[in-house]
Amino acid sequence: MTEPALKIEGLVKNFGSLVATDDLHLDIEAGEIHAVIGPNGAGKTTLIAQLSGELRPDQGRIQFAGRDITGLSMPARSALGLARSFQITSIFPDFSTLDNVALAVQAHAGHSFRFWQPAGKDQSLRRPALDILENIGLAARAAEPAANLSHGEQRQLEIAMALATEPSVLLLDEPMAGMGRDESGRMVELLRGLKGGHTIVLIEHDMDAVFALADRITVLVYGRAIATGTPEDIRANDEVRAAYLGTEAAIEVPHA
């Protein structure tokens, strides 16, 4: 077996007396879509924050392709090929859609101590950015200020910006949050298209999407991983049903 893309060992994060991540052990295999589900407040975003380097864990280690990255900053992890999208849309509303993506391309196109040539005319940034917008279906909106995009389009832009940094591992925090059915459907297709080329840690409340996409699922409750397995395993797991799936009447576990 190859090295896991991410190896999480004994991760602990406390906020005062609250245990947001509770001795978490988890391997994310290279190339898989690994969904992390769990009720609100389970610690999913906190986990992503630690994987991306925004939060320092209190204990434990994180390895990226065999390398210990626990002490690395966010930009350093990004440089290694880790990208994150945000649960709360985190784009640059003043900039055009294309500018947003071009900025992400710029982040990995050498240093930015370039003071004279206008970035807005730099084809080495614009062209790859436009390619990504085309792939993601936002090319028609390239010139539009990002503030004018619909919520769904902004969520797509969120992903486009993560992709523009050419990551090997994507950490996606509820990419379908607040999306309508059609928009979610399109996002599922988009993520399916990324499979193979990227390892994806997917946090999502939309169970249809999770069961449609995930190779494996981890269920997080109060910061603890109560189960990890294939969608079939998770669906059949009594503890998961009791602790999570069963408690939320609104969530129908779909049939394969």
Partner: protein, 329 residues
């Protein structure tokens, strides 16, 4: 940075350019000095706009760099070195170095801590200057005008005026380029969402520090011109109220627009000059209480005139849109 902003910039510079001939025609030399003074402050305000308006760094000690530039000229002059080709580079180097040091420490904090620490550093140098008895301490010292090997004669008001004008125009042009460059994109985006920038892979600290240092250096240049303008240097230039005034010029004129702060400096200094006189005309002895009027004017601009003078002018130039100001959410 739309077309209107560029037109506004060119129009403003064109107006500054014709002031000296007009003062000669109407035999009002006083106005040439006054507008030169406005332009010196405009350079300082534009430099602050780079970090305040574009970078979102609320530096409350920006006048300290004017002080360093001014003292660099003053101290060299005190030791008999009037050569501008030495004074100006020293002023730039000294303000860049102090900007780098203060920035490196201040930028480890954010929010109100950043405001307080930049203020504290500035006051530290203010009190240091007061303690320098050799250089006049509290009273300051006089300073000769810089010599430029006979190329320009700063004792000639017209020469001095056009030197300041050229510096202002050059600074505006360079910062205009800078704001649109890759570096500028990083600075502007870091103001909006630094967390996202880091997640995308930008080590934002070093870019912000570079911007902070550039702003300090340009302000140091304004300080070197200020020493020449007054033929005098004193700790007052570094006092926190001075920093506050530069900040007011930026906010009045319109943050993040570059030309806005030039308009802000103009409006502020004209009001400061004429408001007391107008009030004196209305009521005897009212002039000394000019702040009573100035305060509400400033508050009104901050509360109701978001985007400042720049936004008002840009809007009146037609073709609305995001009315020219660069504010987020």
């Amino acid at each position: 940075m739309d077309r209107r902003q560029i037109w506004l910039s060119l129009a403003t510079l064109a107006l500054f350019a014709v002031v000296p001939p007009l003062t000669v025609i109407f035999d009002q030399p006083f106005y040439m000095d006054m507008v030169a003074r406005i332009m010196v402050f405009a350079i300082a305000a534009v430099s602050l706009d780079l970090i305040l308006g574009h970078g979102g760094m609320v530096s409350f000690g920006h006048a300290v760099y004017m002080g360093i530039g001014a003292y660099a000229v003053g101290i060299l002059s005190y030791y008999g070195i009037d050569n501008g080709f030495l004074q100006i580079p020293l002023a730039l180097a000294a303000s860049a170095l102090i900007g780098l040091i203060f920035g490196a420490m201040s930028l480890r904090t954010s929010g109100v801590y950043f405001i307080m620490i930049t203020l504290a550093f500035a006051q530290m140098l203010y009190f240091l200057a007061i303690s320098l008895e050799e250089f006049g301490g509290d009273d300051g010292m006089s300073s000769m005008r810089s010599e430029f090997a006979g190329l320009i004669d700063l004792n000639d008001a017209m020469h001095f005026y056009y030197l300041v004008f050229a510096v202002l125009a050059g600074v505006l042009f360079c910062l205009h380029r800078l704001v649109l460059s890759r570096f500028g994109m990083v600075i502007r985006a870091s103001r909006t969402n630094e967390r996202r920038m880091q997640a995308m892979g930008f080590p934002t600290y070093r870019y912000k520090l570079a911007a902070f240092t550039i702003a300090g250096t340009i302000c140091g240049l304004a300080g070197a011109l200020f020493a020449n303008l007054n033929e005098f240097v004193s700790p007052d230039v570094m006092h926190w109220t001075h920093s506050g005034e530069i900040m007011i010029m930026v906010i009045m004129g319109g943050m993040g627009t570059l030309i806005g702060p030039v308009l802000g400096a103009t409006a502020f200094l004209l009001l400061e000059e004429y408001l007391p006189q107008w009030m004196e005309m209305a009521m005897t002895d009212a002039g000394e209480h000019w702040a009573i009027i100035m305060g509400p004017i400033l508050i009104a601009i901050v509360l109701f005139g978001r985007g400042g003078i720049h936004a008002l002018l840009a809007a009146s130039l037609g073709r609305n849109g995001n009315n020219g100001s660069k504010r987020d959410d």
